[in-house]
């Protein structure tokens, strides 16, 4: 029952801890490329260079392993988005915050989101798993989804609601928010790589995307604000 109790390190336990992490890290890659159902426990064990029952031993089950992988990602997401959260919260709390400040915060949110999906360690795997979470229906993916909604979608929605002068639960507000975020999420898909002409997203490429999404977003909300913003 190692996968439940807390770990204390020394000789054998330390080795066990290493094994656990090795399984966890290779599992991220394999789940990302093969999907949950597509990845077999035998494949997972082989790539982590452990024997088959090790997965049950450390994580209880294949599902337990998958959930552990997701928890790692969620934790990373939250840590990545954390610095911006209080600033957004403060800006929203103050009714006097200027439009420029709100718009600037929105752009920062989006740029941070680009950095999240295109940068950092294990980029490719996280990117693929994000994309999968939109499609598959696997135990635990709901949590990943929920995390994305809380740390990315919700703050953007609130900022955009203020920029539009509309309630956050207005359809137009949420649909515009989705459209704006869609500018970023499309880069999670492998089709975007091919169409972009490159094999991988280099840091240069990521920075270019950040700048251009910023430019688009500013253009959108400058235009929308200059009119009554009521269509249909």
């Amino acid at each position: 029952m190692v996968h439940i109790v807390a770990r204390h390190r020394s000789g054998t336990q330390a080795r066990g801890e290493d094994t656990r992490r090795r399984i966890l890290e290779t599992a991220l890659e394999i789940f990302a490329t093969e999907g949950y159902e597509g990845a077999s426990t035998r494949q997972l064990a082989e790539h982590a260079d452990v024997n088959l029952p090790a997965i049950q031993y450390y994580f209880g089950s294949k599902e337990g392993l998958f959930r552990a992988v997701l928890e790692d990602i969620i934790e990373h997401t939250e840590r990545h988005m954390a610095p911006l959260a209080p600033r957004v919260k403060a800006a929203l709390a103050d009714p006097m915050t200027s439009r420029d400040t709100l718009l600037d915060l929105l752009c920062e949110m989006l740029q941070s989101f680009v950095a999240l999906v295109l940068g950092g360690t294990q980029i490719e795997s996280r990117r693929l798993l994000f994309a999968r979470s939109e499609v598959e229906d696997t135990p635990g993916l709901e949590q990943l989804h929920e995390s994305g909604r809380r740390h990315v979608f919700a703050p953007c929605l609130e900022l955009i609601a203020r920029l539009l002068g509309r309630p956050a639960d207005d359809p137009e507000t949420s649909l515009r928010t989705l459209a704006v975020i869609g500018q970023v999420t499309i880069f999670c898909h492998k089709g975007a790589l091919e169409a972009g002409g490159a094999e991988k997203f280099t840091p240069d490429r990521a920075r270019l995307i950040q700048n251009l999404v910023r430019e688009h977003t500013i253009a959108i909300f400058r235009a929308v604000s200059s009119k009554a913003a009521s269509l249909q």
Copy 2:
């Protein structure tokens, strides 16, 4: 070997043809919700109300059935996008075409794309299968991808290249194109439904999305054109 020879209709043959179509249509739904690997031949047969070997009989194999489903979708995509293609081609061929015309055509392309993924018959299934094609790695999906690239991405890319005054193979051009298209593709994901607050995309909702994507796109390219459009 019915799945190869051409069909001629009369008594038994006509019944066979009906069975074939019934399998094809229910298979679209099941592949969309369960994925290629997730859908079992037993499930497919049961939902189509045929026995298990019927799939092998009519389509050779599970893979053959899947490819047949994709071909149906691709054909639908091409037929949907066909009316716009010659107008785009003509506009691009003429070096004197005005910016406003180019921008208007781009918006029409995007609106038509919205209608494709959110409207028509078997909407939900096609939408889900589009989303899956971005992630899964299944026989034949490459063709679907290729079709989307040729009928949606490529024309938009050419129009945007002209609007930016940049070559079509410039990274900025393709990345901007992806960002703009991303405004639409995000609505293929089920997460977009929940975040949008609705259970399904009603025609009203689809029209609202069309209008708002149009507005965003116009704002983006009016702003970009008004400056030298050279960043990073």
